[in-house]
Amino acid sequence: MLHRPSAVLIAFAFASLSISIDGTVVAPAEFREIVNGSEIIAFGRVVDATPELSDDRHRVETVVTLQVATYLKGGPGETLVFVVPGGQIGRYRDVLVGAPTFEPGEEAVVFLNARVGERPTVFGLYQGVFRIRVDESSKRRLVVSPVLVAAGQAPERVVRGAATRRPVTLETFGAQVQSVVAEGALRGAR
């Protein structure tokens, strides 16, 4: 059953969206944290994703091989191997809720933690994955996920559907990453 509401009602509902609620503290990483907290940042194409048993043989994890086109930070070689939780061996599939999955052929910018003696892992489980899509009209590569970064010292509310928040080109995204990397290097030099 459908009814047409009054314009007043809709207007009030819209207006109420601008009201914030007192809430909780600390949430996911902001973009600068992701950049500064990652030892390796690379753009490339997934060429292989092979599930295997973990060293303790209790978990299935997927070993992802990325053919790297560009390193934005770090850079061990032409291919980059990292692991994500979950994967399928035989008829059984292990899933860790929220963990990213990768398929050969996909393109992404990945932000990785590198620990001595172990294969790199994605920063913050899923926060260090920025997927790439090719725009049909311009044929340019776009980074799908939003880059959430504080412009100044004041808190900035994140509004869904904001006209200013659009996918950015891979080149723009790379420049944003390198700007943050340079900021960090400058702070380190001081």
Partner: protein, 332 residues
């Protein structure tokens, strides 16, 4: 008449302001022939607790908190779930042992992950073989009734993870803001919100309307089929479906928001488990979220559209559904 419209609108202003956006999503998996929702086919769910505590939390305290968290879900009157604590075990909360185990473990490879739910699934049937929940010892935990400043409330996080164990995915909840060096939640009413809760807070021990609708959708009681309703339709842009659009149903009388997603290329959505009554619909792009925490990599989400309110009020009937709602959005 005019006065009553204003009074109604003001009431909406109050309740909407007090309720951030919510949306439930069910976990699913593909078998050799089809996509199925993850759900337990037999109850009670029999679970073990690892016999090792963590600093400030003993295994007995862990068991009590986990038991309360299970009970929170089982108390939903419109859904039918149950569990049974079998005992303590030396086993770790990892897959591969055929037992459903909850407990502490060290996962330095999963930085920033407080806790997580694992499933082992049989892809030939879609059945859950086992499920485990680990709580990362890299985090400081607390079980005190009022919470402890600087430490995460184990019961709150357990409620979230048990929601996963029962088949719910993440919910696209509320508002956040970015601040220098971090991101902060402004309003998070659903326990299935993927972002870490603040240390010291305990308000996420309680389910919200979106959580109740989600669990009711998966495990409805016989009576809930008669008492609850649904809304289904399509989100379109220039005549084409908008995959991944986030649709939120606001019930002004109850002051609740429940949502869902357009889950295919035609932009089709269904929101079930709704209380009967008037609902307003709002569609928004999930352009502030980490898409990987909601969908797998092959699911292409359209983020290029403006927020839109449906221009008609929807009246959900008890025991029935409103169908063929079409919400047209425009590009940014």
């Amino acid at each position: 008449m005019r006065r009553s419209v204003f009074a109604f609108a003001f009431a909406i202003l109050l309740v909407w302001a007090a309720s951030p956006l919510l949306a439930y999503l069910k976990l699913g998996t593909t078998t050799q022939t089809r996509t199925v929702n993850l759900r337990w086919n037999a109850f009670p769910i029999r679970y073990f607790i690892t016999d090792r505590g963590a600093p400030q939390v003993t295994s007995m305290q862990f068991q009590s908190a986990a038991s309360r968290a299970f009970a929170t879900w089982h108390a939903v009157e419109t859904a039918e779930t149950s569990s049974e604590f079998v005992g303590f075990t030396r086993a770790n909360p990892v897959t591969g042992d055929g037992m459903t185990v909850l407990g502490f473990t060290s996962r330095p490879d999963l930085d920033r992950v407080l806790a997580a739910t694992n499933f082992r699934l049989d892809t030939s049937t879609g059945e859950i073989v086992e499920s485990d929940i680990f709580f990362n010892t890299a985090t400081s935990w607390a079980v005190d009734p009022a919470g402890v400043t600087g430490r995460h409330d184990l019961e709150s996080i357990a409620v979230h993870e048990i929601g996963h164990l029962l088949g719910l995915s993440h919910s696209a909840v509320g508002e956040t803001e970015v601040i220098p060096g971090g991101r902060r939640v402004l309003g998070a009413e659903s326990v299935m919100f993927p972002i870490a809760f603040a240390p010291g807070t305990i308000h996420d021990r309680s389910l919200k309307a979106d959580d109740v609708a989600g669990i009711t959708d998966i495990y409805p009681t016989t009576s809930s089929h008669r008492s609850r309703g649904s809304i289904s339709g399509r989100v379109t842009k220039n005549g084409n479906g908008v995959q991944g659009a986030h649709v939120v149903a606001f019930n002004p009388a109850a002051g609740t928001l429940v949502g869902g997603f357009a889950l295919n290329e035609s932009g089709a959505f269904t929101i079930a488990g709704l209380e009967p009554g008037i609902h307003l619909l709002r569609v928004e792009p999930l352009d502030d979220g980490d898409l990987d925490s909601f969908f797998d990599s092959t699911f292409v989400v359209d983020l290029d559209f403006r927020v839109r309110f449906h221009d008609q009020v929807v009246v959900v009937p008890a025991g029935g559904g409103v169908r063929d709602v079409e919400i047209r959005v425009t590009p940014k």
